[in-house]
């Protein structure tokens, strides 16, 4: 059975994005069985990534599993939605070991729970006790400004434009002076021994 007819039987739509990229949206209760059939029947054996998108307006998280074939010639994106409030997903670490770290990160950044996951502890952040930082209701700017205010301006700060102008003018003046000096020196030398040059010519 090919992929399209199999999905038709499950009344799912396979959207072809380009030569090698497909997308299929699925309800959360069908997710696990569909992922397993992708592995067992269609050889999509590799999990590339698990991504999360925060649809704040709809109260949903949109989760995308990217699977790749063994031959690395096709990718399918399996998309599903979960409630933002409860935010719970089945863990896939028993199928793909790499899912463990991906889910751990998602747990930290979006606050998604994975019942049965062995290591749902701190990942990149430590002791974080605020809203998970990649949720859209977390006001990053306000948090940053309250935690890490900018350094005040220097009291002895100079105007860069003016300083550069002064510098350029000083450089010009120095160059001019050097040129004049060199010219004067040359003139003096000529005055001191003009005969030598003449004798050299002869």
């Amino acid at each position: 059975m090919d992929l399209a007819s199999k999905l038709e039987k499950l009344s799912l739509e396979l959207v072809q994005k380009n030569d090698y990229l497909y997308k299929v949206s699925v309800k959360i209760d069908q997710l696990e069985s569909l992922l397993l059939s992708f592995i067992n029947e269609f050889n999509y054996i590799t999990l590339d990534s698990i991504n999360c998108r925060d649809d704040l307006e709809d109260g949903l998280f949109t989760i995308t599993y990217c699977l790749q074939t063994e031959a690395r010639d096709h990718i399918v994106m399996v998309q599903t939605s979960i409630e933002r409030e409860t935010a719970s997903l089945p863990t896939m670490h028993t199928i793909w070991p790499q899912a463990e770290i991906m889910e751990r990160e998602m747990h930290e950044m979006f606050g998604v729970d994975f019942p049965g996951h062995p290591t749902l502890i701190d990942f990149a952040l430590e002791y974080w006790d605020n809203i998970p930082p990649l949720r859209r209701d977390f006001d990053t700017l306000e948090y940053v400004n309250s935690m890490n205010p900018f350094r005040g301006q220097r009291t002895d700060a100079l105007d860069t434009k003016e300083e550069m102008k002064k510098k350029r003018e000083a450089k010009k003046a120095a160059k001019l002076k050097a040129e004049q000096e060199a010219a004067a020196k040359a003139a003096q030398e000529e005055q001191n021994n003009p005969k030598q040059e003449v004798s050299g010519d002869e």
Partner: protein, 216 residues
């Protein structure tokens, strides 16, 4: 008086030749001051560095210390652990998680100890100014002796930083670690503010009995 003549550049070859004893000028009586000056001079010429690659600037460390720019000709050598180091180089932005480890590392170093930061990130956040997880002003948390600007600073700039630090050591200027000891409460309060009190182990804090602890 011991010391390099002003204008004597460090790169001018065999530095021993530029060490001059001008005993008459300073008067032999003040031997102690002379010795101190000598010690400071030698200290400035032997700086052991632990390079902590906190951010992107770490990539400038290998050329600085190896044959291309050769920081060793100025007496600056890399070492493996903070307990053997005089100087810690923090090369770039610091996440809270990194800051926690940097404080721990810094407090393991023996005095005198110095800190050098590379890049604009430790000065004012740099391009990570709006990150929820990155500090802006490193010198609020630990005393930075030399802040080298740039994004990222070239090895020449880093070497300039070494020269500045050496000058400061030779002149006997007040170093960061002395300020740290004097204003420990200020630093510890700032650390606690962003790290939520999870700064462990609490070496210095315990020494100064600010954490309710105290070791003999």
């Amino acid at each position: 008086m011991f010391g390099l003549d002003k204008g004597d550049k460090m790169e001018s070859g065999f530095y021993g030749s530029s060490l001059k004893c001008k005993f008459e000028e300073s008067g032999l009586a003040n031997t102690h001051a002379i010795m101190e000056k000598a010690v400071r001079w030698f200290e400035s010429r032997s700086i052991f560095v632990v390079a902590y690659g906190t951010g992107c600037g770490a990539i400038e460390m290998p050329p600085t210390f190896t044959s291309r720019y050769d920081a060793e000709r100025m007496g600056v050598v890399g070492v493996a652990t903070p307990r053997q180091a005089d100087l810690i180089i923090l090369s770039g932005y610091l996440a809270y998680k990194t800051l926690r480890r940097v404080i721990r590392t810094y407090e393991q170093m023996q005095k005198p100890r110095y800190i050098m930061s590379l890049g604009s990130c430790p000065i004012n956040g740099g391009m990570y100014w709006d990150s929820y997880n990155t500090i802006k002003k490193l010198d609020d948390y630990i005393p930075v002796d030399v802040a080298v600007t740039g994004c990222m600073p070239r090895p020449e700039a880093v070497i300039d930083g070494f020269v500045l630090l050496q000058e400061r050591i030779r002149n006997g200027e007040k170093a960061g670690w002395e300020k740290y000891d004097e204003n420990l409460k200020f630093y510890k309060d700032n650390q606690k503010r962003v790290l939520g009190g999870h700064v462990d182990p609490a070496y210095e804090t315990d020494w100064y009995n600010l954490n309710g602890g105290g070791i003999a």
